[in-house]
Structure formats: structure tokens, C-alpha cells
Amino acid sequence: MNATTATVVAVLLVSPCVGSSLFAHHGAAAYDRTVTLTLKASVTEFIFRNPHIIISFDAPDERGQVIHWSAEGGSSSGLSRRGWTWKTLKVGDQVTVVGNPARGMEGQDKRVMALSRVILPNGQVVGQASLTVP
């Protein structure tokens, strides 16, 4: 485990406030924090910009239908302090995405989630920024 990976994992372990505190820019009321989805995803776009990074990906639902997801993370400036870079993901990456879905979008072929973390193909976990600036 390199230093960056260690830092990211540590953040995941010590940041209990992630769920409630991510999105000062627009709030987090849209998301159902009682539901956590873990999805096998194929990355279709990775935007490492403010106000929030966006990971777009395709993932099959329980019936095998492909759902087009957009997951928002923290700010790129904040995530840069957490080990993320603009090269962390690229189109075509096969990853595992964990997050909380937006309410009321069940059954749609396009859905939105609040990102919790991504597990990269090499097993590295990249976590979400919290308010706890290092």
C-alpha cells in the first residue's frame, strides 16, 4: 500500500461525517442515506472539476437492464487533498461504486447518486472528501 492509498483508506475509516456533510454547495437532501448501493460499474465519463466531481457509469440493475448513473462527489479541490487526481478514473474502467441513490428515481434508466467510494480494479479504495480537512 503506497502512501496515497494509505491516506485515502484512513480517511474512510475516520470520517463518520461524510454522509451528512458533503455538499455545502447544494445540500444533500436529494439522497436517501438509508440506502447504500454497491454497483459493478463501467466508467463512461470522469469529470474532475468543481463544484463537484462527477462519475458517469453504466451498471446493470437486478434485472440485468443497464442503468446510466451519474455520481457526484466532493469538490475537486477537496478531493485533491484526499489522494484523488484527475487521472484516478478513465473511460472504460471497470470499478465498484458505492453510494446513496437520489430518492424518487427508482425504475428510471438514468439515475443519480451521492458517491461514497470507488474500488479500483487494483483493489485500491478511493474515498469521498469530508469536511475534515487534513
Binding site: 455545502a24 447544494h26 445540500g27 462527477i54 469538490s75 485533491s80 437520489a102 438514468k110 443519480v112
Partner: protein, 276 residues
Amino acid sequence: MREACARPIAAPVIVLSLGLVAPAQSNRTSTVVQKNALSAVRHDLDGVWAIKVATTTPRTAFECCLVDPRLRPPMTAWGQARFDAAVPSSRSPGPEGNRVIPGKENDPALSCFPDGIPKILTSPEPFEIISVPGRVLMFFEKDHGWRQIWTDGRKLPEDPPELRFDGYSVGRWEGDTFVVESSGFNDKLWLDYYGDPHSEAMRLTERYQRVNQDTLSIAVTIDDPKAYTKPWIGKPIHFSLRPRVEIGEWYCTVEDENRFNEKIRFPTFVPDGNKK
């Protein structure tokens, strides 16, 4: 702060020198050194600071709040109309309850307006305080913006040439408290993330105290007779020193904001009303 520190820092040096020639007084000298060192720290606000995460209930994004909506004075008709028109991004702890409608929020920041003073103080992004002769500068990661607080003895402009998002600010030391007074704001922004309004008449007082090496507190008073029937007094909120953090770049661009709205924010609106 460099200017403010010049005299307090000189004192412990003198005391230390005296200690070398008067060892019998070492205990008392040590106490004096500690007090003077603490005084020096208290007059030094420079550094990168980040707001502490809330520990209050309901747990919001930030330590709640610069001014607590639960203690909000009655609004004027003007203030109430502005408040009623606001669809905030964050659930307020105030008596109005949850007014958030995901996808329909109209916080000016979502149209690339700056957060402005004082709202940006409760942004989770860090800010840096830098003292230079005649000014204290605040450099905010959010909006990548600079604020100038004049410490050269000038007064606030009685008739400012323009009304600003950050207003005009002057500062002075009162004991261990750095007091900042501001006016000359425009009325385009909100006081906070909950849609509380402010007008062009707002006079803002901030009191900065370095509680210890690692902690800064800020307490504000909002005096805005156009929006509120009496001053709104906040309790101190706290910030942690982050010596390893460099201020990053956080600009709002129309392209980024539009993309975010189209991909994330707007799709989360569900027409069945307010989603709790």
C-alpha cells in the same frame, strides 16, 4: 499577525534574558514567558483554517451556525418576502423546518454568485488569513476570493461608491479580540445556506479570537433593520488550524455549474413536492 506580533513576541525574549541573570526567579519567569507566548499566539490569526464539523443536533454540514435560525429575530415584511422566496440547499434547524426542494434550490451560489461575507465563513472549504501592513487578508478556497480588512485606521465609507458582495471591512484589536466591522453590502446574497436574507442596510460585526494554538473562534452580529426587527447575535463558531493545507482552486464557471445542474441537480427533482 506580523504587526500585532511584533510587540508581544519581544516581551518573552526580554524575560528570557532576565531569567539568565536571576535564576532565583525562574518559576515566576517561566509563568511570565508562558503568558506572553499565549498572548502572542492570541494576536496571531495567520494560517489556514477550516470550520469544525458540526457536533450539534440536527447535524448539519457545519458547526451551526453563524447566526442560529432558532434565535432569528422577527423579520420585517421585506425580510419575510425574501425569506419566503428562498428555496435553500440545506435544512435549517429553525422553526420553519425543511424548505429544501432538491432540484429547485435557488441559492445564488448555484448561479455562480459568490457566497460572500458572512456566508462563506461557514463553507467547508478552508480559508487563509494573511496579515500585511495596513490590512488583514482572507483568502478563501471557495470562489478563490480575497477579502480585505483594513487595519490602517480608516473608517467605513459612509456613502460607498459601490455595493459589494463582501462589503467594506475595517478591523482593530480590542484586547485579544480582533473586531471587524463591515458595511456597504449589496442584497444579492443570503446570510447563510438556509435562505436567511440580508439587505443593503446590513452592518456586520465579527469578533475573531484565537482560543489556543489550534483553534479560532468567530462570533458575528447582524444588524440589518431592513430585514430584521432587531440585531441577530450569533454564538462563536470554531475553526481548526490546518498547517499542512494549501488553499486550492475553487472557481465557479458557468460551464461547470451548468453541467452539474444538468447531470446531477435538476434530475433529482421529483414533482411530488418536498422530499424529506
